[in-house]
């Protein structure tokens, strides 16, 4: 797929408020983000900054907002077959085996043979060969999230939304999953939009990082990450960017 310069996902003048007893609570304040096809966008912010809410709008799960949310030139009015979403919890169906959970993501109109092929391919893609017949409760948290990723990828979405997908995993598994995600991103050429509160994760994964402030969520800065891949977490540039982001946006929060 060639890289296009025209923005693929457009978020323009997006505002979102929740109605509370005491009046309106503004969660997103005039957000403008343009995302190119094939980009890996990380949206970085503390909890409560509305980043997950924004992702739900892109997924078509929340349509009560003002402003524009467009994907491929079309307004998002509800769930869209081209958009997949991965939640913080894997949300696998406990009553389905790994194979059937992944199969759930297949779109209709795919023949039986093709289905089997697709499942095979995606189980391999996320490195879960041999676990097809396991139930989710028999897998570790990291493996469950892999199944969830396979379930989303099997429908071949053009855009994958990831809502703090590794937040519940331990540090080592998380790094492992980040690496896997990058590998999949490079292989599948999908546009990925990942929400996180982990600065390292954003730097390691993102083509660009969108930094959101808290209450209401506002775009503070959009940073191009120019560090060459594969990125090293211990490299000087990595540390510099980490310091820049931390000092510029999140310092002082320790003492709060």
């Amino acid at each position: 797929m060639e890289k296009e310069n025209v923005s693929y996902v457009q978020i323009h003048n997006l505002n979102k408020s929740f109605a509370m007893k005491e009046g309106e609570l503004k969660v997103l304040d005039n957000i403008n983000i343009d995302i190119r096809k094939g980009e890996f966008i990380c949206i970085l912010g503390t909890s409560g900054c509305g980043k997950s809410t924004m992702l739900r709008m892109l997924a078509g799960l929340d349509t009560l907002y003002t402003g524009e949310v467009k994907v491929d030139g079309e307004e998002v009015k509800g769930p869209n077959p081209n958009i997949g979403m991965i939640f913080q919890e894997s949300r696998l169906f406990p009553w389905m085996r790994v194979r059937d959970n992944i199969k759930f993501g297949i779109k209709k109109g795919v023949s039986k043979e093709e289905q089997a092929e697709l499942i095979e391919k995606h189980i391999e893609l996320v490195g879960l060969k041999g676990f097809e017949k396991s139930y989710p409760h028999q897998l570790s948290g990291g493996m469950q999230q892999r199944v969830s990723i396979a379930r989303s990828l099997i429908g071949n979405p053009k855009i994958l939304l990831l809502d703090e997908p590794f937040g519940a995993l331990d540090a080592l598994t998380r790094m492992n999953m980040q690496q896997e995600t990058l590998r999949i991103w490079e292989k599948e050429q999908a546009t990925m939009i990942l929400v996180t509160h982990d600065i390292d994760e954003a730097i390691y994964l993102g083509s660009r990082i969108v930094i959101l402030s808290s209450r209401p969520g506002k775009v503070k800065e959009i940073i191009d990450v120019d560090i060459e891949r594969p990125r090293k977490r211990t490299s000087k540039e990595f540390a510099e960017l980490r310091n820049y982001i931390y000092n510029g946006f999140f310092a002082g929060m320790d003492n709060e």
Binding site: A59, L61, P79, I83, F87, E89, F93, F104
Partner: protein, 258 residues
Amino acid sequence: MKRKKRLSDYWWVCLWVPCLFILFWQYAGSAGAFNTRVLPTPGIIFDSFVKLIQDGVLQKHIAISLQRVIQGYIYGSLAGILVGALMGVSPLIHRSLSFFTGILRPIPIIAWFPVTIMLFGIDETSKILIIAIGAFWPVLINVIDGIHNVDKKYIEVAEVFMKPKHTILGKIIFPGAAVSIFTGLKVGIGNAWVSVISAELLASSSGLGYLISSSRELAKPGSMMVGVFIIGIIGWAINTLLEFLMKFILPWNVNDKR
């Protein structure tokens, strides 16, 4: 890592209380602590049991009671699943029926018995109807609860994948409610068993309930106690069977392992 087996890990631990109970009972009876012509000792009960088996009487009564329970249970639980599914899925049907069922449900099964006898006479129909009513309510309530308590997060996943309604129902809502439905079926069979004995005690010429009441009238306390304990043993067997079935049908359900 293998944990060292504790005493509570062995199944036969469940036997010592009944054994002690029987021994104590036998001993107290032999020592003359109570009148064994009113309350027979385990030994007398066992003799009656052997005699009832030899005469083929016990098997006959058990077969009749079981047949009634199975018939009534099938009707009652199917109706419970059907109505429960409709009420669980459709808010309109739920609203329409909740007041009606709310009034009917607290009525004890026994209270329906004179009504069914008036309507159908003292034959099988009235007994099976009573059993069906007994099985119906717990199934209904648990099916509705199970459907309502399916995690909305799973439904959201299906929405992201743009799955049609029938897929959401068949692959998410019903499997998600399955554990609760099974609980209803378990309570339902218990109720059905209670119902059949009650019906047979009140008006019948066969079945385990009849065995108990007729033995009392004929002053045969041994046979009477055989009837009482057989009810317990069969009830236990049914429950064990259902639990086994549940493990078999819902192998993913690990929440209520003991």
